[in-house]
Structures are given as structure tokens and as C-alpha cells.
Amino acid sequence: MRDFLNKLGLTFAFIVIVSPAVLFFLWMLSLSLKFEIDNASYPPVFIPERINWGNYAAVIESKRFMTYFFNTLIVTGSATLFALVIGVPAGYGIARMRARKSAIVILIARITPGLSYLIPLFLLFQWLGLLGTLWPQIIIHLVVTVPIVIWIMIGYFETTPMELEESAIIDGATRWQVFRHVALPIARSGIAVAFILSVIFSWNNFVFGIVLAGRETRTLPVAVYNMISFDQLSWGPLAAAALIVTLPVLLLTMFAQRQIVAGLTAGAVK
């Protein structure tokens, strides 16, 4: 009996603590599928009688949506790939040199507000005449992606066993070969974690875009923000746009939650 009560209490507490997260996203979905009449009714309608897919169609068919989508893909993709190409070897080098202290730069970078990179780099991009292209955003997203990748990879390479690498060296392999054929395959799961987190944080980034993006070079988060100021009154398309922007991240989180949890807590606990 007491066991049963404990279970009941636990279930109740569980529902209370999980429901804000779940209900929020269900409400978001509900807003995005309703006609304006239902969205503006009081008391609010949770499950509508008629579903309005038109909200999604309106967003996807809207001018430049596809441009903004591809902009986001290009910025996030390039910033992540470049960060992996330089960050994975760097994490390896720092771990093998036991130079973890040099990673203090990355910790300070983590503390520094994003805006403080924007002012100098904005002036630099202006001076270089790069504004109006996607380059400024790709380059400044490295401020986010490179530290994530290096930080996670240091942690991974520090825990991978050295014996294999040492025997490969004795067999006459060069350092690069050891890295490429011994260390890299073992660290594959670490690279996956770095990749996922880098993609998510770059995809979500907003502050760099509002300053650096022009009409043609907006990423999706910036485009969604601009929608708020233009048609504040129609909630359906707004909610649909918001859901479209964040859906890739939500799906990635659900499918790769194990890697995400590992990456976030590894960075935090060490």
C-alpha cells in the first residue's frame, strides 16, 4: 500500500515537472494548425475541429522562405564542417600535449557575451566589403562552433587509450597516420557529439544574424523574428514558421538525446 502511494506520488510529481515542456510544444502545434477564428477565441481552443494546413503552405510558399532555409543550411553546414576540420585535430593535439591549460581560451570564450565579438568583426567585415554576402555569418559562427568542437574532442581524446597509438608509432607510422587511422576511428562517437551540438547551436543562433544579415542573407531565426514585426496579427502562420524553424532541432534532440546529454554534461562536469 505504501509502495503504491509512493508510486502514485512519483507519477504525479513526474507529470507536474514534465508537462510544461510537453504542453508548450503541443500548444505551439495547436496554434500552427488553427484558423484565425480559433486562435482568437476565448476560452482558447486546444484541439480545433477544422485543421488549417494553409498556415504551413503560406510559410513555405512565402517569398524567400527557401532562400532563408538554404542560407541557414549553408551557414550552419560550413561553420560546422570547418570547425570539425580544424577542431578535431586541435583537440587531439591539445590532449596529447597534455596542454589542457591552453583550453582556458575556450573557457573565456564561453564566458564572453556574443555581442562583444560582433562589434569588432562587424567593423572588420565592413572594411573588407563582405557585408551582403553569407561570409560574415559563416565566419562569425566559428566563434560558436570551434570552441564546442575543440572542448568536446579534448575530453574524448584524453580518455581514448594510448597503447594502440604507441605501438603504431613503434611500427614506424607518422603522427598524421596515427591520428588518421588509429585515433580518429576510435573517436567517432565523440565527433558525432561535437557535430550534433555544433549544428544545433549554430542553427539556433540569432544575435549574429540580426546584425550581419541583409534582406537576402537572413537565416531562418532572423527571418522568423522579422515576421513578428510585420504581421503580428495572424498567429497561425507565425506559429507554423516558428515550428518549421525549430523542428529540425527538436527531431535531432529526440533522436540523438543520448549524445546530446553526453556532450552537454561532459563539458559541464569536467
Binding site: L10, A21, Y117, P120, I150, A242, L250
Partner: protein, 319 residues
């Protein structure tokens, strides 16, 4: 004298060279050869991270509006700060916002971690659902929260009415703007505290709990005297990360209130944005950046100090 020094130097050099060859022979694992792996990343970090830091300090010593030539003014920009009412006010807002955004997620996150530390079906799936708020695109969720805060049509006032509470103006009234934003921040970041604390809880061995159960301890006693002391270091880390992120919070505030109504929710970061990219006063903005950074470091230092003191107290108490 000079001969002696020279002799010493020679001896020293020979010794070092000998030592170096010895290590090279004995141990192929000479760290220096890993430089090529690190150099590309170093160049990038210099360009996009270190260069902005240095340049910011240089700019902060100049009177400089975008489009004009910079003139050196020494510390004038810094001296302007204390008499800038809007800046002083924004520091106050930041501190209130941060204190609440650390405390609430810390309490709720610990509670959530205690719940998630039990075994139940589909735990991984629910953990995934639970961390969605912190992974979702901030602007997208800010947009939906804005709709939920709407005084007439928003779902939050409807929920209040279900509990018989009067409606609130949420982010549309100066007095409730910051607490409403903290609500969003708490909703968003409680999962991170949960994950960190859960890591701590799962590392505790089961023996203490078993003996506590035999002794007839209540769940609260078990938590207070076994779990809590063991997860203290994790709570500290969570508080530190939360503090750093809350001070810097931008997306949510910018997208929901733009610092308004008036300047009721304008934090340092929001004010900094206006100075830099609305007024284009980059010299003054850079001074704000430097002071802002110093404030974050000071807060982190205060947290560290607090932790050391509580350690000392614990030791004193048990002795």
C-alpha cells in the same frame, strides 16, 4: 666573474641538450611534434576570438562612431558609465534577472533530477522531451511565449482564470516584465540543471540509501542528509553555468520585449546592442563590453568564494 657565468651557461646548455637527446631517444612521445595539429585552430581562434578581444580594448579607449574617424580619449568612455542612468539601471535589471534565473532553475532542476533518478518506463524518451526547451531555437519559442503572454487572447491568462487568479499583463507591464521573462528562462534552462544534477545523483552509491531506509529515514531526510551533500559540487557547477548564461541572456529578451516596456527589462546586453547597433557608438559600446565582461568574472569569483566558505563551514560543523 664573467668567465664563471659563461662557463655556467655552457654547462647548462650542454646539460639541456643532453637531457633533450636523452628524452628524444627514450621517449618518442615528444609533445612538441603535435603542434601541426593545433596550429590551424590557433590561427582561427586568434582571428575570430582573440583579435576581437584586443580590438575591443583598443576601441574602448577611443571616441568612435561608425563612419567617423576614431579619436583617442583615454578612459573617457569608462568615466561616462557611472553617470549614464540607462546603463546603471540596466546593471540593476541584469542582477535581478540573473539572481532569479539562477535560483529558480536550480531548485526546479534539482527536483526534476530527483524524479528522473527513479527507474520508470520510457525514461530516455521522457528525458529527451524534457530537454527540448533548452535545445529548441530561442527565437522560435520566444515568439510562441509572446502569444501566450497576450493579455486578452493569451493562454496563460486563461490558465490563471482556471485557478481563480486575476489576469496579468505579463511582459506588457513594467513591474511584471522581468519576472515574466524569468519564467521563460526558467522553463528553458531547468533541463540543463536537471542533467548536471542527475549526473551527480547517479554517481552516489546505493549503500547510504539502504542504511537510511533501515533506519526509517523520511524521503526528505534522505535527500537532505545523503543526496544534497553529495550533489553540492554539481549544484555549484550548475549555478556557475546558469549564472554565466543568464547574465548574457539576449535572444529571449530581445525577441519578446526588446528591453521594454520603456526600458523596464533592458539588461546590459540589450543596452549594449542599442549603443553598438542602433546608435553606432562603437567606442562607448566597447567600454560597456569590457565592464560587462569584468562583471561576469566578478560574479563568477563571488560564486567561487561562496563555495569555499560553505566548504569551510561544513568542515567546521562536522568537527
Amino acid at each position: 666573474m664573467s668567465e664563471l657565468t659563461a662557463g655556467k651557461a655552457v654547462a647548462k646548455t650542454t646539460a639541456t641538450v643532453a637531457a633533450e637527446t636523452a628524452t628524444a631517444k627514450k621517449n618518442e612521445w615528444r609533445p612538441i611534434s603535435y603542434w601541426p595539429f593545433v596550429i590551424p585552430a590557433m590561427i582561427v581562434v586568434m582571428a575570430v576570438i582573440i583579435f576581437p578581444w584586443v580590438y575591443t580594448i583598443w576601441m574602448s579607449l577611443h571616441e568612435w562612431k561608425v563612419g567617423q574617424a576614431p579619436t583617442f580619449v583615454g578612459f573617457a568612455n569608462y568615466l561616462r558609465l557611472p553617470s549614464d542612468a540607462r546603463f546603471v539601471e540596466s546593471v540593476g535589471h541584469t542582477l535581478v534577472y540573473t539572481a532569479l534565473s539562477v535560483a529558480l532553475p536550480l531548485i526546479l532542476g534539482t527536483l526534476a533530477a530527483v524524479i528522473f533518478n527513479n527507474k520508470f518506463p520510457l525514461r530516455g524518451f521522457f528525458r529527451g522531451l524534457f530537454i527540448l526547451p533548452m535545445m529548441a531555437t530561442p527565437v522560435a519559442i520566444a515568439l510562441v511565449w509572446t502569444m501566450m503572454f497576450h493579455p486578452q487572447l493569451g493562454v496563460l491568462n486563461y490558465l490563471l482564470s482556471l485557478f481563480g487568479l486575476p489576469p496579468s499583463l505579463w511582459v506588457f507591464h513594467p513591474a511584471t516584465a522581468i519576472p515574466s521573462l524569468v519564467l521563460v528562462e526558467t522553463w528553458q534552462w531547468t533541463p540543463l540543471v536537471m542533467l548536471i544534477v542527475l549526473g551527480g545523483l547517479s554517481a552516489i552509491p546505493t549503500e547510504p540509501y539502504e542504511s537510511a531506509q533501515i533506519d526509517g529515514a523520511t524521503p526528505w531526510q534522505t535527500f537532505r542528509y545523503i543526496s544534497l551533500p553529495m550533489i553540492m559540487p554539481f549544484l555549484f557547477i550548475a549555478a556557475m553555468i546558469r549564472m554565466i548564461d543568464a547574465v548574457k541572456s539576449f535572444d529571449i529578451i530581445f525577441a519578446i520585449t526588446q528591453g521594454g516596456p520603456g526600458s523596464a527589462s533592458e539588461t546590459i546586453n540589450l543596452y549594449l546592442y542599442s549603443v553598438a547597433f542602433v546608435y553606432y557608438d562603437v567606442g562607448y559600446a566597447s567600454a560597456i563590453v569590457v565592464v560587462f565582461f569584468a562583471l561576469i568574472v566578478a560574479l563568477a569569483g563571488a560564486l567561487l568564494h561562496l563555495r569555499q566558505r560553505t566548504h569551510w563551514n561544513e568542515a567546521g560543523g562536522s568537527a
